[in-house]
Point group: C2
Chain length 235, copies 2
């Protein structure tokens, strides 16, 4: 019944810091399912770059808060943005040296349907980042981050829009979380039933799960004949 | 550029407690985009029931932690589970009266591509639950919760598996979070460009995003001819 990504049997993780991997820390080595943990930058970056929504966790009045938030990775940093009036962004600007956060990104790849209820699981890839959110004030870095967030949603889009003007930039706060304390966790592959259950009559296997993009729906005010750009067809 | 679900302009939310809706609290009335907030149980339940993975937030050593976790709703409670050795489950059992948590569920429904970078957004539906995770010790409630979690992944599946045995049940912790301080937030509909931008030459519109289930892949050890059950075809 260990269908939650946060559980299962433990093994020794790969060596810390190998080939420029993220360092292991008490927070990034899971208590369970250590064989599913990854620390190499290639795996972590790929999981992050396939997503554009993260779940941003922070502490307010001693209690946890988790909000879905658009993000983009640029090098070894994650950027998020929002209104200058939003709570976490205000807190990130007010607090010195920033706001402690946890940023989590998850892709579900398959339903793992075992013969036993206990061995039901999901195939998934997730990244958990522990760090500090700091407000970005450098104008060039802010513009780079905002472009990256548009391109995270639709690669190529940032070059095909009206850029933010001075009023819009003044209303937008940008925060950065450096990728320092980071781990990925993933499950792939088939069901893992106990040997004595293999002859049970229940169907067992994996149902693939994917995200699908539909036909773009043009805005009602769009000039007739305006073509769907090529970068959207690539989705 | 307000593509993050956590932002945008404010309006007055619907009345608190109307028609058995969840009460408004300081934590569930957003500082931004109040027009996107919903408190009625029908909307909240529908968003929760379409999901089986939540992002579970809690505080450890003063810092936020966000983990992807399988869950199911039963009435006015959310259930999660995991190994009896997992950190949040241990904390929920150790702490009296439980572990403060935030449980967030998010569906992305569309990419909203405006003519201006600033008005890029996502169509989405999310639920944020603030509450307390408590360990469930009643054996009947534990079994009901575990069945609900199997059925959350594939409705009908719980009746078509080998149920957990005594050893498996002993290794599995179940936690409950009551639905008391709850809100939904959603964006639907077309792009929202400024009037002066409508004549710009950039394509604008919405790209629908859906979750797709592929053809079930049978386990290699499955008896030849074992049919895919009807409840999986319904996915």
């Amino acid at each position: 019944m260990t269908a939650t990504p946060a559980t299962e049997t433990s093994e020794t993780p790969e060596p810390s810091g190998a080939d420029g991997a993220y360092e292991h820390t008490d927070r990034t080595v899971p208590t369970r399912s250590r064989d599913r943990a990854r620390y190499d930058r290639e795996t972590v970056h790929a999981i992050l770059d396939e997503a554009y929504v993260c779940h941003l966790g922070f502490v307010r009045d001693g209690a946890p808060v988790v909000l879905p938030t658009l993000f983009a990775r640029v090098g070894e940093a994650l950027y998020m943005h929002g209104s200058t009036g939003s709570r976490p962004l205000l807190a990130a600007g007010r607090t010195d040296p920033g706001l402690p956060v946890c940023v989590t990104v998850t892709h579900v790849d398959g339903l793992v349907l075992a013969r036993s209820a206990f061995h039901h699981s999901l195939n998934y890839r997730s990244v958990v980042v522990h760090g500090t959110a700091r407000q970005v004030t450098d104008e060039q870095e802010r513009r780079t981050a905002l472009d990256a967030m548009v391109d995270a949603v639709a690669p190529g889009r940032a070059a095909d829009v009206r850029p933010a003007n001075a009023r819009e930039l003044a209303a937008t706060a940008v925060i950065r979380v450096d990728l320092e304390e980071v781990s990925a966790k993933l499950r792939t592959g088939p069901v893992n039933d106990d040997a004595e259950d293999l002859a049970l009559p229940h169907w067992a296997g994996v149902v693939p799960v994917t995200t699908t993009y539909g036909t773009p729906l043009p805005d009602a005010d769009l000039a007739p004949g305006t073509a769907v750009p090529g970068y959207l067809a690539a989705l």
